[in-house]
Amino acid sequence: MLKAKIEAILFASGKPVSLKSLAKVLVVKADELEAAIVEIKKEKNIDDSGIQLIDHDGSLQLVTNPAFGELIGSLVKDEFAGELTRPQLETLSIICYRGPVTKPEIEQIRGVNCSLIIRNLLIRGLVEEKEDSVRLQPVYIATPDFVRHLSVHTLADLPEYEHFHADERIAKLIETATTPD
């Protein structure tokens, strides 16, 4: 029944729901919740399901199967279409692969000041800002809407994700490369 309840809540909200609030509303322990979610993913994240589950930033959301993108796109309006500039695309890619990532880290990779580009991505709802309790400065991650647009079930499904996200050498380069004042 837990599985059905989770499904009902996600369906009714139509937006990402955090694992935390799910656990609270359903009065279940984290591991029970986890197990049910694994089951739901197994059932839904297959070619033959019209509805699938996205898992991003500690939140879950039900979406349509990306394979039917063209079919659905012809029926409903997509608010997120539009033009991206090269600098925006570059910044967005860094945030998807390295997020949560700070502004200085992004600037280290791109070699340019990124304040205005990040602001623009924030306004367009493609990335969002979070406070990071360890780094004590804002960090940036992709929004659920953008993850949905990428048609992956979670960012870890991006091509070569492990390589870019966790690579120690990249981490070190970001840290040690001198900032162009």
Binding site: G14, L62, G82, L89, G111, V112, N113, S151, F164
Partner: protein, 231 residues
């Protein structure tokens, strides 16, 4: 239906550097950086880099000129580091070009997941006032917002003070030399508002020398650079 990416522009100075190095089939090393310095300066000189990005291009230009100037002299370890740092940064950037390709192809793909219109939105809008909002909290909230925006207002102000472009500066220096026949580099940079401005002047000088319009003479290192008109 999906995102479009405008391809006809440079993403930034790193992309420009990378393309120059790859065009010459070079590896990313400090030697290569020194080699492509002229091409890089040429690009910045001849293209209309958007004013808010020009500063970033010029910072990299300054680093390249520095590396190039040191390439002919024995380096002390500290200076070696500066050259290595730029090469390392460019290698890092090179890696993320692949990441960008992945994201680009995903957003171009017709595959897209759609979410669901909010279903449990109450059908009629009913007045549901919050408990925590008064005229005072609204005022405080707006006042906090204005405070938070202060740095942004300052940023806008500076980007409005458009950096004098290299082309404009070339015209200025050339004009002055038509009138005066000779002058010093510090005459030109005296009025500079920032370091970027000094770099712009320096790039303009290099261009004027290349065009054979002026001659620069420096008696010894760190001495004043004297500029003469070639008649």
């Amino acid at each position: 239906m999906s995102f479009q990416v405008a391809l006809d522009q440079f993403a930034g100075p790193m992309q420009l550097l990378l393309e120059l190095i790859e065009k010459e089939d070079l590896d990313i090393t400090k030697v290569s950086l020194a080699k492509v310095t002229e091409d890089y300066l040429g690009y910045v000189n001849t293209h209309d880099v958007p004013s808010h990005e020009l500063a970033d291009f010029l910072v990299v230009a300054a680093r390249l000129i520095y590396i190039k100037s040191r390439a002919i002299l024995p380096l002390d370890p500290e200076e070696e580091e500066e050259a290595d740092a730029l090469a390392a940064q460019l290698k890092l950037y090179r890696q993320f070009v692949d990441a960008t390709v992945h994201i680009d192809s995903l957003i171009r793909s017709p595959q897209t997941a759609y979410d669901r219109p909010r279903s449990f939105v109450p059908s009629s809008t009913k007045f549901r006032p919050p408990d925590n909002v008064t005229a005072e909290t609204l005022g405080a909230s707006f006042s906090d917002l204005v405070k938070r925006l202060e740095p942004f207002f300052a940023l806008q102000q500076t980007s409005l003070q458009r950096v004098v472009s290299v082309q404009e500066r070339i015209k200025q220096i050339h004009q002055v030399l038509i009138d005066r026949a000779r002058m010093t580099f510090s005459d030109i940079t005296k009025g500079s508002a920032s370091r970027i401005d000094v770099v712009v002047s320096f790039l303009a000088l290099l261009e004027l020398m290349k065009q054979g319009l002026i001659k620069a003479v420096q008696m010894s290192a760190f001495e004043e650079i004297e500029l003469r008109r070639i008649d």
